[in-house]
């Protein structure tokens, strides 16, 4: 009976892991001042997309004032990685002035191998836009 139970537990755990791996979290717009770039919103939006690509995100949404990316999951020996969703909100303050807010959402599965990408994405955008 005990043997049967242990033989049944593993497929159940495996199914649970696979099911959870399909879940992605939704980033929420942070209530922070953000970073202001002295560039038009369309130029900053393009830089946001490029920054996500450099960090290994698949760009899922590319709207004029919102960009979202998801990092594909990788199965590791000890700790995998990926599964984060990043949202980048743009706010056009003036024709050549755009505010950027970035937020990383970690998913339930594989949270140990996930990280907050906000600072790196902001830094990459600064590099691209030459701030």
């Amino acid at each position: 009976m005990r043997e049967n139970r242990s033989a049944m537990i593993f497929p159940v755990v495996l199914l649970l892991v696979v099911a959870l791996a399909g879940c992605a979290s939704i980033p929420t717009k942070p209530e922070v001042e953000g970073v202001i770039f002295q560039k038009p919103a369309d130029v900053v939006q393009k830089a946001a997309v490029d920054a996500l690509v450099v960090m290994g995100f698949d760009v899922k949404k590319s709207d004029p004032l919102y960009v979202e990316g998801f990092r594909p999951r990788k199965v590791g020996l000890f700790v995998g990685s990926g599964g984060e969703t990043v949202g980048i909100w743009l706010e056009s303050l003036e024709p050549s002035k755009t505010r950027v807010r970035v937020s990383t959402a970690k998913s339930l599965a594989g949270v140990v191998g996930q990280k907050n990408w906000d600072a790196e994405i902001r830094a990459e955008m600064e590099k691209i836009l030459g701030k």
Binding site: E3, N4, S6, A7, F10, P11, L14, K46, D50, V53, V54, G56, D58, P72, R73, K74, V75, G76, L77, F78, V79, G80, S81, G82, V112, G113, K115
Partner: protein, 121 residues
């Protein structure tokens, strides 16, 4: 008991076999679009410097490689995909190669950004 051990071994083998290696790549035009060239077209690589011929910059190229199990990637690993993206964007050669490597847990990350150019003569 034997069944339990078997299940663990199978699970470990599955995890090892599915050790992830992902490749993401794309090109984006810097201005005007040009017709794509054949996927296996000849592309000149200028890892440093630029060609003597006159040229214009036509595309931004990105190749992103990630591998788990502490396995790293190099420029040579990314080169076939870089050439493919250059051909798709209609470029004749690649310049401004920028490489960067980082690590998240046991995942090694390698990213290369380059500029696709078109000869004018």
């Amino acid at each position: 008991m034997r069944k339990g051990i078997c299940s663990i071994v199978i699970l470990l083998v599955v995890i090892l076999l599915t050790s992830c290696a992902t490749t993401q790549s794309r090109y984006s035009m810097l201005g005007q679009s040009y017709p794509s060239r054949a996927e296996d077209c000849k592309v000149d690589i200028f890892k440093t410097g630029s060609p003597d011929k006159k040229f214009i910059k036509v595309s931004r190229l990105d190749v992103h490689l990630e591998k788990t199990h502490f396995i790293g990637s190099s420029f040579e690993d990314a080169l076939p995909e870089l050439k493919k993206q250059a051909c798709k964007s209609g470029a004749d050669a690649i310049i401004d190669v920028q490489e960067r490597s980082s690590m998240v847990g046991e995942t090694k990350i390698y990213h290369v950004t380059a500029t696709g150019i078109k000869y004018l003569e």
